[in-house]
Protein backbone atom coordinates (compact mmCIF):
# COMPACT_ATOMS: atom_id res chain seq x y z
CA UNK A 1 0.00 0.00 0.00
CA UNK A 2 1.44 3.34 -1.01
CA UNK A 3 0.66 4.74 2.42
CA UNK A 4 2.22 7.53 4.40
CA UNK A 5 3.95 4.88 6.52
CA UNK A 6 6.30 4.24 3.58
CA UNK A 7 8.46 7.19 4.51
CA UNK A 8 11.90 6.43 3.15
CA UNK A 9 13.17 9.39 1.12
CA UNK A 10 10.45 11.87 2.10
CA UNK A 11 11.68 15.33 3.03
CA UNK A 12 10.67 18.25 5.21
CA UNK A 13 9.73 16.13 8.23
CA UNK A 14 11.91 18.35 10.42
CA UNK A 15 14.97 17.62 12.54
CA UNK A 16 15.41 14.40 14.48
CA UNK A 17 14.71 15.25 18.09
CA UNK A 18 16.26 12.99 20.68
CA UNK A 19 15.03 13.06 24.25
CA UNK A 20 17.60 12.84 27.03
CA UNK A 21 17.16 9.99 29.50
CA UNK A 22 14.03 8.87 27.76
CA UNK A 23 11.94 6.37 29.72
CA UNK A 24 10.92 3.09 28.05
CA UNK A 25 7.27 4.14 28.38
CA UNK A 26 6.24 7.73 28.96
CA UNK A 27 2.86 6.81 30.44
CA UNK A 28 1.75 3.55 32.06
CA UNK A 29 -1.01 3.12 29.45
CA UNK A 30 1.60 2.89 26.70
CA UNK A 31 3.11 -0.21 28.28
CA UNK A 32 -0.36 -1.73 28.71
CA UNK A 33 -1.21 -1.22 25.03
CA UNK A 34 2.15 -2.56 23.94
CA UNK A 35 1.79 -5.61 26.19
CA UNK A 36 -1.83 -6.30 25.24
CA UNK A 37 -0.87 -6.32 21.58
CA UNK A 38 1.67 -9.03 22.32
CA UNK A 39 -0.42 -11.10 24.73
CA UNK A 40 -3.41 -10.75 22.42
CA UNK A 41 -1.40 -12.09 19.50
CA UNK A 42 -0.72 -15.24 21.54
CA UNK A 43 -4.28 -16.33 20.67
CA UNK A 44 -3.09 -16.80 17.11
CA UNK A 45 -5.67 -14.47 15.59
CA UNK A 46 -3.11 -12.15 14.11
CA UNK A 47 0.60 -12.03 13.36
CA UNK A 48 3.19 -9.24 13.38
CA UNK A 49 2.65 -8.53 9.70
CA UNK A 50 -1.08 -8.09 10.19
CA UNK A 51 -0.33 -5.87 13.17
CA UNK A 52 1.93 -3.67 11.06
CA UNK A 53 -0.72 -3.45 8.38
CA UNK A 54 -3.35 -2.45 10.94
CA UNK A 55 -1.11 0.51 11.81
CA UNK A 56 -0.57 1.33 8.15
CA UNK A 57 -4.30 1.54 7.58
CA UNK A 58 -4.70 4.47 9.94
CA UNK A 59 -5.61 7.37 7.64
CA UNK A 60 -2.55 9.43 6.72
CA UNK A 61 -3.36 12.66 8.52
CA UNK A 62 -4.06 10.74 11.72
CA UNK A 63 -1.01 8.56 11.24
CA UNK A 64 1.17 11.66 11.25
CA UNK A 65 -0.66 13.31 14.13
CA UNK A 66 -0.98 10.39 16.54
CA UNK A 67 1.73 9.40 18.97
CA UNK A 68 3.39 6.03 18.49
CA UNK A 69 1.34 4.19 21.10
CA UNK A 70 -1.88 5.90 20.07
CA UNK A 71 -1.31 4.18 16.74
CA UNK A 72 -0.80 0.89 18.57
CA UNK A 73 -4.05 1.44 20.44
CA UNK A 74 -5.91 2.08 17.19
CA UNK A 75 -4.38 -1.05 15.65
CA UNK A 76 -5.12 -3.15 18.74
CA UNK A 77 -8.78 -2.16 18.66
CA UNK A 78 -8.85 -2.90 14.95
CA UNK A 79 -7.35 -6.37 15.48
CA UNK A 80 -9.28 -7.32 18.61
CA UNK A 81 -12.62 -6.63 16.93
CA UNK A 82 -11.67 -7.45 13.35
CA UNK A 83 -10.21 -10.80 14.32
CA UNK A 84 -13.01 -11.77 16.66
CA UNK A 85 -11.52 -11.51 20.14
CA UNK A 86 -14.20 -9.01 21.18
CA UNK A 87 -17.16 -7.33 19.56
CA UNK A 88 -17.68 -3.71 18.88
CA UNK A 89 -20.54 -3.77 21.39
CA UNK A 90 -18.28 -5.13 24.08
CA UNK A 91 -15.75 -2.39 23.42
CA UNK A 92 -18.45 0.23 23.66
CA UNK A 93 -19.81 -1.11 26.92
CA UNK A 94 -16.44 -2.17 28.32
CA UNK A 95 -18.12 -5.42 29.46
CA UNK A 96 -18.22 -8.94 28.01
CA UNK A 97 -21.48 -9.68 26.21
CA UNK A 98 -23.98 -11.63 28.29
CA UNK A 99 -23.37 -15.35 27.89
CA UNK A 100 -20.11 -14.95 26.01
CA UNK A 101 -17.60 -17.72 26.62
CA UNK A 102 -14.57 -16.90 28.70
CA UNK A 103 -11.29 -17.65 26.94
CA UNK A 104 -8.80 -19.72 28.89
CA UNK A 105 -6.02 -19.88 29.75
CA UNK A 106 -4.27 -16.65 28.87
CA UNK A 107 -0.50 -16.32 29.03
CA UNK A 108 0.41 -16.09 32.73
CA UNK A 109 3.21 -14.05 34.28
CA UNK A 110 5.32 -17.19 34.63
CA UNK A 111 4.87 -17.83 30.92
CA UNK A 112 6.30 -14.46 29.91
CA UNK A 113 9.97 -15.50 29.71
CA UNK A 114 9.00 -18.36 27.38
CA UNK A 115 6.89 -15.98 25.31
CA UNK A 116 9.88 -13.66 24.89
CA UNK A 117 12.25 -16.54 24.17
CA UNK A 118 9.88 -17.99 21.58
CA UNK A 119 10.21 -14.76 19.59
CA UNK A 120 8.69 -14.61 16.15
CA UNK A 121 10.23 -17.52 14.28
CA UNK A 122 9.57 -16.86 10.60
CA UNK A 123 12.46 -18.71 9.01
CA UNK A 124 11.29 -21.92 7.33
CA UNK A 125 13.47 -24.97 6.77
CA UNK A 126 11.79 -25.93 3.53
CA UNK A 127 13.38 -26.56 0.17
CA UNK A 128 12.47 -23.57 -1.96
CA UNK A 129 14.79 -22.67 -4.81
CA UNK A 130 16.35 -19.23 -4.69
CA UNK A 131 15.58 -17.15 -7.76
CA UNK A 132 18.70 -15.04 -7.37
CA UNK A 133 22.34 -15.57 -6.46
CA UNK A 134 24.70 -13.55 -4.33
CA UNK A 135 26.40 -10.98 -6.54
CA UNK A 136 23.57 -10.91 -9.07
CA UNK A 137 22.07 -7.59 -10.16
CA UNK A 138 18.36 -7.33 -9.51
CA UNK A 139 15.66 -4.72 -9.86
CA UNK A 140 12.97 -3.92 -7.31
CA UNK A 141 9.72 -4.70 -9.10
CA UNK A 142 7.40 -1.88 -10.02
CA UNK A 143 4.44 -3.10 -8.01
CA UNK A 144 1.86 -0.96 -6.26
CA UNK A 145 -0.39 -3.32 -4.30
CA UNK A 146 -3.13 -1.79 -2.20
CA UNK A 147 -2.25 -4.45 0.36
CA UNK A 148 0.68 -4.81 2.75
CA UNK A 149 4.13 -4.87 1.21
CA UNK A 150 7.64 -4.66 2.61
CA UNK A 151 9.05 -3.41 -0.67
CA UNK A 152 9.51 0.31 -0.02
CA UNK A 153 8.58 2.69 -2.81
CA UNK A 154 12.09 4.09 -3.00
CA UNK A 155 13.46 0.70 -4.09
CA UNK A 156 10.91 0.02 -6.83
CA UNK A 157 12.34 0.14 -10.32
CA UNK A 158 15.84 0.53 -8.87
CA UNK A 159 18.75 -1.76 -9.56
CA UNK A 160 20.77 -3.28 -6.76
CA UNK A 161 22.99 -6.26 -6.00
CA UNK A 162 22.21 -9.35 -3.93
CA UNK A 163 24.66 -9.18 -1.02
CA UNK A 164 23.37 -12.06 1.11
CA UNK A 165 20.83 -14.84 0.86
CA UNK A 166 19.31 -15.27 4.33
CA UNK A 167 17.39 -18.42 3.50
CA UNK A 168 13.67 -19.08 3.31
CA UNK A 169 11.32 -16.82 5.27
CA UNK A 170 7.60 -16.31 5.63
CA UNK A 171 6.54 -13.73 3.07
CA UNK A 172 5.21 -10.75 5.01
CA UNK A 173 3.13 -9.43 2.12
CA UNK A 174 0.82 -12.45 2.07
CA UNK A 175 1.07 -13.34 5.76
CA UNK A 176 -0.27 -9.91 6.73
CA UNK A 177 -3.55 -10.82 5.01
CA UNK A 178 -3.73 -14.40 6.33
CA UNK A 179 -3.18 -15.58 2.79
CA UNK A 180 -0.52 -18.10 3.63
CA UNK A 181 3.16 -17.97 4.45
CA UNK A 182 4.34 -18.31 0.85
CA UNK A 183 7.88 -19.10 2.09
CA UNK A 184 10.63 -17.84 -0.18
CA UNK A 185 14.19 -16.59 -0.10
CA UNK A 186 14.95 -13.37 1.67
CA UNK A 187 17.98 -11.33 0.65
CA UNK A 188 19.99 -8.31 1.59
CA UNK A 189 19.99 -6.16 -1.51
CA UNK A 190 22.48 -3.33 -1.75
CA UNK A 191 21.35 -0.23 -3.63
CA UNK A 192 23.89 2.47 -4.37
CA UNK A 193 22.68 5.75 -2.87
CA UNK A 194 23.12 7.39 -6.29
CA UNK A 195 20.87 4.77 -7.90
CA UNK A 196 18.17 5.71 -5.39
CA UNK A 197 18.65 9.46 -5.06
CA UNK A 198 20.73 10.61 -7.98
CA UNK A 199 23.83 12.76 -8.07
CA UNK A 200 23.07 14.52 -4.80
CA UNK A 201 24.00 11.34 -2.92
CA UNK A 202 27.55 10.54 -1.91
CA UNK A 203 29.19 8.28 -4.51
CA UNK A 204 30.09 5.41 -2.18
CA UNK A 205 27.05 5.41 0.12
CA UNK A 206 24.45 2.68 -0.11
CA UNK A 207 21.20 1.42 1.36
CA UNK A 208 20.71 -2.25 2.21
CA UNK A 209 17.14 -3.51 2.03
CA UNK A 210 15.78 -6.93 2.98
CA UNK A 211 13.66 -8.12 0.09
CA UNK A 212 12.01 -11.41 -0.83
CA UNK A 213 12.04 -13.20 -4.20
CA UNK A 214 8.60 -11.82 -5.08
CA UNK A 215 9.91 -8.26 -4.75
CA UNK A 216 12.66 -8.70 -7.31
CA UNK A 217 13.28 -9.30 -10.97
CA UNK A 218 16.40 -9.77 -13.07
CA UNK A 219 18.15 -6.57 -14.01
Amino acid sequence: MNGVHDMGGMQDMGPVQAEKNEPVFHEPWEGRVWGMMWLGSAWGKWNLDAMRHAIERIPPADYLRMSYYEKWLAALVDLVTGRGLATRGELESGRPAAGSAKATPPVKAEGVPALIARGNPVKREVAVAARFKVGQRVRGRNINPQTHTRLPRYARGKVGTIERDHGVFVFADSNAHFQGEKPQHLYSVRFAARELWGEQAAPRDSVYVNLWDDHLERA
Binding site: D6, M7, G8, G9, M10, Q11, M13, G14, V16, Q17, A18, E22, V24, P28, W29, G31, R32, V33, W34, G35, M36, L39, G40, E56, D62, Y69, L73, A74, V77, V80, G82, R83, A86, R88, L91, G94, R95, A103, V107, K108, A109, V112, L115, I116, G119, N120, V122, T147, H166, F169, A172, L186, S188, A193, L196, D205, S206, V207, Y208, N210
Partner: protein, 235 residues
Protein backbone atom coordinates in the same frame (compact mmCIF):
# COMPACT_ATOMS: atom_id res chain seq x y z
CA UNK B 1 -9.00 -17.77 8.92
CA UNK B 2 -10.79 -17.14 5.68
CA UNK B 3 -11.65 -13.54 6.11
CA UNK B 4 -11.61 -11.75 2.80
CA UNK B 5 -9.68 -8.57 2.62
CA UNK B 6 -12.88 -6.64 2.04
CA UNK B 7 -14.46 -8.09 5.20
CA UNK B 8 -11.28 -7.56 7.09
CA UNK B 9 -11.17 -3.90 6.20
CA UNK B 10 -14.90 -3.52 6.86
CA UNK B 11 -14.52 -5.14 10.27
CA UNK B 12 -11.50 -3.07 11.00
CA UNK B 13 -13.36 0.07 10.08
CA UNK B 14 -16.27 -0.85 12.33
CA UNK B 15 -13.90 -1.65 15.14
CA UNK B 16 -12.11 1.59 14.83
CA UNK B 17 -15.33 3.50 14.90
CA UNK B 18 -16.10 1.79 18.17
CA UNK B 19 -13.18 3.52 19.78
CA UNK B 20 -14.41 7.00 19.51
CA UNK B 21 -11.13 8.72 18.95
CA UNK B 22 -10.90 6.64 15.86
CA UNK B 23 -14.20 7.83 14.64
CA UNK B 24 -12.13 10.84 13.71
CA UNK B 25 -9.72 8.64 11.88
CA UNK B 26 -11.92 6.36 9.88
CA UNK B 27 -15.24 8.05 9.42
CA UNK B 28 -16.40 11.60 9.01
CA UNK B 29 -15.95 13.62 12.15
CA UNK B 30 -19.34 15.22 12.28
CA UNK B 31 -21.22 11.99 11.83
CA UNK B 32 -19.71 10.62 15.01
CA UNK B 33 -19.24 13.80 16.97
CA UNK B 34 -22.23 13.06 19.18
CA UNK B 35 -20.63 9.81 20.32
CA UNK B 36 -17.78 11.57 22.00
CA UNK B 37 -19.64 12.37 25.16
CA UNK B 38 -20.20 8.66 25.76
CA UNK B 39 -16.58 7.71 26.23
CA UNK B 40 -13.51 9.13 27.85
CA UNK B 41 -11.15 10.74 25.36
CA UNK B 42 -8.10 10.24 27.52
CA UNK B 43 -6.06 7.32 26.14
CA UNK B 44 -5.24 6.22 29.68
CA UNK B 45 -8.93 5.72 30.44
CA UNK B 46 -9.62 4.05 27.12
CA UNK B 47 -6.76 1.66 27.62
CA UNK B 48 -7.95 0.89 31.14
CA UNK B 49 -11.38 0.06 29.81
CA UNK B 50 -9.93 -2.11 27.04
CA UNK B 51 -7.70 -3.91 29.50
CA UNK B 52 -10.53 -4.64 31.90
CA UNK B 53 -12.62 -6.00 29.03
CA UNK B 54 -9.84 -8.28 27.80
CA UNK B 55 -9.12 -9.43 31.35
CA UNK B 56 -12.79 -10.19 32.03
CA UNK B 57 -13.00 -12.12 28.79
CA UNK B 58 -10.04 -14.21 29.92
CA UNK B 59 -7.89 -13.03 27.03
CA UNK B 60 -5.21 -11.18 28.98
CA UNK B 61 -3.77 -11.75 32.45
CA UNK B 62 -2.87 -8.40 34.03
CA UNK B 63 0.04 -9.97 35.90
CA UNK B 64 1.49 -11.16 32.60
CA UNK B 65 1.20 -7.58 31.34
CA UNK B 66 3.03 -6.39 34.45
CA UNK B 67 5.75 -8.96 33.84
CA UNK B 68 6.19 -7.97 30.19
CA UNK B 69 6.42 -4.27 30.97
CA UNK B 70 8.78 -4.89 33.87
CA UNK B 71 11.05 -7.03 31.71
CA UNK B 72 11.47 -4.33 29.07
CA UNK B 73 11.72 -1.51 31.59
CA UNK B 74 14.36 -3.19 33.70
CA UNK B 75 15.94 -6.25 32.13
CA UNK B 76 16.10 -6.07 28.36
CA UNK B 77 17.81 -2.92 27.13
CA UNK B 78 20.96 -1.44 25.61
CA UNK B 79 23.16 -2.95 28.33
CA UNK B 80 22.65 -6.27 26.53
CA UNK B 81 24.04 -4.84 23.32
CA UNK B 82 26.89 -3.13 25.17
CA UNK B 83 28.02 -6.49 26.58
CA UNK B 84 28.12 -7.93 23.08
CA UNK B 85 30.16 -5.01 21.75
CA UNK B 86 32.63 -5.10 24.62
CA UNK B 87 33.09 -8.84 24.22
CA UNK B 88 33.78 -8.38 20.50
CA UNK B 89 36.40 -5.74 21.28
CA UNK B 90 38.35 -7.97 23.64
CA UNK B 91 37.81 -11.38 22.04
CA UNK B 92 38.81 -11.62 18.38
CA UNK B 93 37.41 -15.13 17.96
CA UNK B 94 34.04 -14.03 19.32
CA UNK B 95 34.07 -11.02 17.01
CA UNK B 96 34.70 -13.26 14.04
CA UNK B 97 31.75 -15.49 14.99
CA UNK B 98 29.62 -12.43 15.67
CA UNK B 99 30.14 -10.97 12.23
CA UNK B 100 29.70 -14.34 10.53
CA UNK B 101 26.51 -15.37 12.37
CA UNK B 102 25.17 -12.69 14.69
CA UNK B 103 22.25 -14.75 15.97
CA UNK B 104 24.40 -17.69 17.07
CA UNK B 105 27.18 -15.58 18.61
CA UNK B 106 24.75 -13.38 20.50
CA UNK B 107 22.97 -16.49 21.81
CA UNK B 108 26.29 -17.43 23.46
CA UNK B 109 25.73 -14.46 25.77
CA UNK B 110 22.16 -15.52 26.42
CA UNK B 111 20.35 -13.00 24.23
CA UNK B 112 17.81 -13.69 21.55
CA UNK B 113 14.10 -14.30 21.16
CA UNK B 114 11.62 -11.58 20.38
CA UNK B 115 13.07 -8.77 18.30
CA UNK B 116 16.26 -10.75 17.90
CA UNK B 117 15.32 -14.00 16.22
CA UNK B 118 17.67 -13.17 13.34
CA UNK B 119 20.48 -10.77 14.12
CA UNK B 120 23.10 -9.32 11.82
CA UNK B 121 26.01 -7.38 13.24
CA UNK B 122 27.56 -4.73 11.01
CA UNK B 123 31.00 -3.38 11.82
CA UNK B 124 32.05 0.25 11.74
CA UNK B 125 35.61 0.97 10.66
CA UNK B 126 37.51 4.20 9.98
CA UNK B 127 36.21 3.95 6.38
CA UNK B 128 32.74 2.39 6.76
CA UNK B 129 29.91 3.67 8.92
CA UNK B 130 26.68 1.72 9.38
CA UNK B 131 23.32 3.21 10.28
CA UNK B 132 20.12 1.31 11.11
CA UNK B 133 16.57 2.44 10.36
CA UNK B 134 13.11 1.04 9.74
CA UNK B 135 11.52 3.28 7.12
CA UNK B 136 8.22 1.35 7.06
CA UNK B 137 7.48 1.05 10.78
CA UNK B 138 9.65 0.69 13.88
CA UNK B 139 11.61 -2.56 13.60
CA UNK B 140 14.42 -2.55 16.14
CA UNK B 141 16.63 -5.18 17.77
CA UNK B 142 14.62 -5.49 20.99
CA UNK B 143 16.63 -8.47 22.24
CA UNK B 144 19.85 -6.48 22.37
CA UNK B 145 18.75 -2.83 22.66
CA UNK B 146 15.32 -3.03 24.29
CA UNK B 147 12.46 -0.93 22.94
CA UNK B 148 13.33 1.93 20.58
CA UNK B 149 13.44 5.60 21.57
CA UNK B 150 10.82 7.94 20.13
CA UNK B 151 13.23 9.56 17.69
CA UNK B 152 13.94 6.20 16.05
CA UNK B 153 10.20 5.82 15.37
CA UNK B 154 9.72 9.42 14.24
CA UNK B 155 8.78 10.52 10.74
CA UNK B 156 11.89 12.70 10.65
CA UNK B 157 14.28 9.82 11.23
CA UNK B 158 12.45 7.21 9.17
CA UNK B 159 12.14 9.49 6.15
CA UNK B 160 15.60 10.98 6.13
CA UNK B 161 17.95 8.24 7.31
CA UNK B 162 18.00 6.65 3.84
CA UNK B 163 18.23 9.82 1.73
CA UNK B 164 20.27 12.05 4.02
CA UNK B 165 22.20 9.84 6.44
CA UNK B 166 25.02 12.37 6.86
CA UNK B 167 22.57 15.12 7.74
CA UNK B 168 20.78 12.93 10.28
CA UNK B 169 24.03 11.78 11.90
CA UNK B 170 25.17 15.40 12.03
CA UNK B 171 22.08 16.28 14.06
CA UNK B 172 23.36 13.84 16.67
CA UNK B 173 26.62 15.77 16.76
CA UNK B 174 28.71 13.47 14.62
CA UNK B 175 30.36 14.82 11.47
CA UNK B 176 31.54 12.02 9.21
CA UNK B 177 34.35 12.78 6.73
CA UNK B 178 33.32 12.70 3.08
CA UNK B 179 35.50 9.72 2.32
CA UNK B 180 33.66 7.55 4.83
CA UNK B 181 31.25 5.16 3.15
CA UNK B 182 27.84 5.12 4.79
CA UNK B 183 25.79 1.95 4.70
CA UNK B 184 22.20 2.39 5.76
CA UNK B 185 20.32 -0.76 6.75
CA UNK B 186 16.56 -0.57 6.29
CA UNK B 187 14.92 -3.20 8.51
CA UNK B 188 12.24 -4.32 6.10
CA UNK B 189 12.04 -7.97 7.27
CA UNK B 190 12.52 -9.82 10.58
CA UNK B 191 16.30 -9.45 10.47
CA UNK B 192 17.54 -7.05 13.06
CA UNK B 193 20.77 -5.10 12.96
CA UNK B 194 23.29 -4.24 15.64
CA UNK B 195 26.11 -1.85 14.81
CA UNK B 196 29.49 -2.85 16.18
CA UNK B 197 31.08 0.56 16.81
CA UNK B 198 34.80 1.23 16.64
CA UNK B 199 36.67 0.76 19.87
CA UNK B 200 37.79 4.21 20.98
CA UNK B 201 41.47 5.04 20.87
CA UNK B 202 42.99 5.14 24.33
CA UNK B 203 40.76 2.36 25.69
CA UNK B 204 43.46 -0.32 25.41
CA UNK B 205 43.85 -0.77 29.14
CA UNK B 206 40.16 -0.92 29.98
CA UNK B 207 38.59 -4.19 31.06
CA UNK B 208 35.60 -5.71 29.33
CA UNK B 209 33.11 -4.38 31.91
CA UNK B 210 34.61 -0.90 31.71
CA UNK B 211 34.39 -0.99 27.94
CA UNK B 212 30.74 -2.08 28.09
CA UNK B 213 29.98 0.94 30.27
CA UNK B 214 31.17 3.24 27.46
CA UNK B 215 28.94 1.76 24.78
CA UNK B 216 25.78 3.73 24.14
CA UNK B 217 22.52 2.80 22.50
CA UNK B 218 23.04 5.51 19.89
CA UNK B 219 26.43 4.06 18.91
CA UNK B 220 24.80 0.67 18.36
CA UNK B 221 22.19 2.24 16.05
CA UNK B 222 24.91 4.16 14.23
CA UNK B 223 24.11 7.78 15.05
CA UNK B 224 27.11 8.17 17.38
CA UNK B 225 30.59 6.88 18.06
CA UNK B 226 31.82 5.44 21.32
CA UNK B 227 34.06 7.90 23.11
CA UNK B 228 36.09 7.92 26.28
CA UNK B 229 34.88 10.16 29.10
CA UNK B 230 36.57 13.55 28.87
CA UNK B 231 39.51 13.96 31.27
CA UNK B 232 38.35 15.70 34.41
CA UNK B 233 34.76 14.81 33.61
CA UNK B 234 33.35 11.82 35.40
CA UNK B 235 35.25 10.33 38.29
Amino acid sequence: MKTSRRDFIANAGAAAAAMHDLAHAQASNQEHEHDHSLVPSDPALRVKSLESLLVEKGLVDPKALDALVDTYEHKIGPRNGAQIVARAWVDAAFKKRLLADGTAAIAELGFGGRGGDYLQVVENTPKIHNLVVCTLCSCYPWAVLGLPPIWYKSAAYRSRAVIDPRGVIREFGLELPEDVEIRVHDSTAELRYLVLPERPAGSEKLKEEELAALVTRDAMIGVAKVTLPKPGGQA
